[in-house]
Amino acid sequence: MNFKMAAPTQSLRPSKQVAFKINGHQTDISCTDFQNRLFLVITQLQKIGTLIHLSKDVVMEQGPTHVYTTKVLLGKDEEHLNLLARRLAERIPINKPILLSLALKDTSIITLKAIEQLIVDNQMWEVR
């Protein structure tokens, strides 16, 4: 089988990977940009965990207000995951829907806050 390779520059999908140890737990964060979506993976298990569809809508109610919708597509629907998803939706200044993958060993509030802050400090949505 002889396949002609397309020019490499066309195939680069912009993405960003960072990693930290949060209270001793390896935490990998990876963000890939697509035209119509952001794919954000946050994992302490090096696996894709619960997949959540996160979208933002603007409604006019005493001025423009953002409304966030979270929907678990795969995995357990857990409150702390929905909470983190909403917090991320508020703090990521991108209007595209986000496909969020969450696999956490440590679901304490201080870890969730740390994850939120790391994503903001590292501007994970800026992949280019």
Binding site: M1, F3, K4, M5, A6, A7, P8, Q10, S11, L12, R13, S15, Q17, V18, A19, F20, K21, I22, N23, G24, Q26, T27, D28, S30, T32, F34, Q35, N36, R37, F39, V41, T43, L45, Q46, K47, I48, L51, H53, L73, L74, L99, I110, T111, K113, A114, L118
Partner: protein
């Protein structure tokens, strides 16, 4: 009280490759995780409208496959995820984002298999 945060080395990795299949430039993006990977397939502009997951189970020789995002009437990504899960023994996510007739789907599958053979450590 705040969490202790230390920098660490990434255990995930990404890999991009492409192929010219039936007069179409097809792009592939792999996110490698532990015993699992996510494979995005599409053309420019790169969209993500579809996602399937498959994983081997003890109960059936055919891996369990499910559509996570996208049209449940199009089984392309689920079928490919199942084939790759069976081949690798890993949990596989496939996102297939282009119009393709059965011949192009076959070429895409062959291109993936070819790349897996040349660069198995990327998956």
């Amino acid at each position: 009280m705040t969490a202790e945060i230390l920098p660490s080395e990434s255990l995930l990795s990404v890999y991009n490759f492409s192929g010219r299949l039936k007069e179409t430039d097809v792009n592939f993006h792999v996110l490698k995780l532990h015993d699992s990977f996510m494979l995005w397939i599409g053309t420019e502009p790169a969209k993500m409208d579809d996602l399937s997951m498959a994983m081997p189970t003890r109960f059936d020789s055919m891996p369990l496959g499910t559509q996570v995002l996208g049209e449940s009437t199009d089984l392309t990504s689920t079928s490919l995820a199942q084939k790759l899960a069976k081949k690798t023994g890993k949990q596989v996510f496939v996102s297939f984002n282009m119009a393709a007739d059965s011949e192009l789907v076959l070429r895409v599958e062959e291109r993936v298999m070819e790349e897996m053979m040349m660069n198995p450590d990327k998956f």
